[in-house]
């Protein structure tokens, strides 16, 4: 194939995934945490599509599309929760959400 090998794409995918993970692990604002999860999913998507291209197989792309939908749904629910929390005057800081512990 012309252009870089699949490996390069996968590298990018992996980098995205890693960055997303880092985001989830260090960020305290739930919104940004959600965004980071999106990045992880996108990394996975990129991997899927790269593989699909590499294997000349459509399943990967389908998978990717499905993932988009799922990601969207997760975001919807997540945002809903954030709104609900916000309505309870809860500061948007996941570190403050620790009434359940031990």
């Amino acid at each position: 194939m012309i252009g870089p090998d699949t490996a390069w794409y996968l590298a990018v995918a992996g980098f995205l995934f890693g960055t997303g993970t880092l985001g989830v692990l260090i960020r305290r604002n739930p919104l940004i945490v959600l965004l980071s999860i999106e990045i992880m999913l996108n990394g996975a998507n990129l991997a899927l599509i790269a593989f699909a291209r590499h294997l000349n197989d459509g399943n990967g792309q389908i998978f990717a599309l499905a993932v988009m939908a799922v990601a969207a749904s997760e975001v919807v629910v997540g945002l809903g929760l954030i709104v609900a929390l916000n309505r309870k005057r809860v500061p948007l800081d996941v570190d403050r959400l620790s009434s359940l512990r031990g």
């Binding site: 999860i37 996975a44 998978f63 629910v77 996941v94 009434s99 512990r101």
Partner: protein, 506 residues
Amino acid sequence: MIAAVQSFFARPHIDWFALAPVNTLLAAAALALLSAVLVPRRARKPVAATLSALGYAVAFGFAVALYVKSAHGHGVVADAFRRDRLTELAGIIVAGSGLLATAISYRERGRGDHVGEYYALLAAAGAGMLFFVGANNLMTLFLALEWFSISLYILCAIDRDRLGGLEAALKYLVVGGFGSAILLFGAALVYGATGAIGLPEIAAAGKEHDTLLLFGLAMIVAGLGFKASAAPFHMWTPDVYEGAPTPVTAFMSAATKTVALVVALRVLVTAFPGDADVWTVAVAVIAVCSLAIGNLAALVQKGVKRMLAYSSVSHAGFMLIAVSANSDLGGRALLYYLVPYAAMSLGSFAVVAARERELGVPVTFENMAGFGWERPLLGISMWAFMLGFAGFPLTGGFVGKFYAFAAAYRHGWTWLVIVGVIATLVSLYYYLGLVRAMFMRRTEDLQLAPRTDVRAEPARLLGGSPPRDALLQTAVVACLVVTVGSFFAMQPLIDLAKHASASLPF
């Protein structure tokens, strides 16, 4: 032209019977949802609850019928879904749990708003699980996972005014999203390594010990372990179980664990037989972690729900022992164990719910004092459930543990048996501790919450002790019957499990 279209769309044959349980529940969900809009507020709750109950009952019936008729498993709808006895046995357990969960929920869901949605989501979650256990390729697997997970996220937060619920839901959502992202990436890697997403095809690709494959496998194991709340992927469990409404917790603890473990078994055995030498060890290690962490943490809990949550972590360990055996006996052990386990956890959470309702505060060991004598039926049932968790004879829990250990021994892992035994010993402390609280403590200092009329808006106090909850008690009795009955009449159950696990390529 038509022919061309026909050839263009080679529509796969659809085995509606195989999908019947799922569809039934979806229908029930849809109707319940409609009831939320169409039925007047007063009648909404009974209608929606009945719909969900009906859905589960019918799904249960379908699952049984399918179990009988699916001696030889096969994939349906372009192999996206697998119709075999494993699927259907899991389906039976899930449907049963859903039915009981509906019964338990009935009084809980007093508040007028969202009662329709609640039952709709309950049914939808069940449908997702039913689909999940049948998923035959990574895509459907992932999608079904998200399907019931999202339903559960919402169910956790269904009381938008309970901060605990919201917190639990957010934690569940974020950690769950994180976990499923990992699962997804693993799936992608596996797909890349083998070029297939269908479970059998993955095995057929014959890429044993391929680096990408193993990497993906690791991530998939993690993702499934997360759903089964096995240590060290378990940390969401206590918080979510504590924060979620108790009936939801009951449903989660019974059904989610069931499907997660069944799917884990199916995926590992069907898709990765070549790497068994790797994943058996990994699963065994995870099992040990779960046993250790779950039991130790449960020792020091004050809240009963949290204790039960940790105990469910440790039980994930016990059942993973069976999975790690990677043998027919192991599958049998797991599938048998799931039946009494589901009953016990549903029942125990139901009892907690009952106590919660008469106290109006979170249930702790302290305020369980004297419960056994005040409510003999619930008390004795709880006693039985605890003994079952602790693996005492006269309950199915004993036979389950016995089979799991037997499988481990057959696999040559006596050390795993020893670990399990020690874990059981530790677990006795808190299980019997609850019995002790219920039966051996005095109850003078105990305060029953004033009874509230839940229909009134806003709820208004009536005073007096809460009414006995016939539905809940029926559910508890049903659980009790299963828990104890599975010990005495275990041959039939074992046969069920045997046939079910026979549909896996051991």
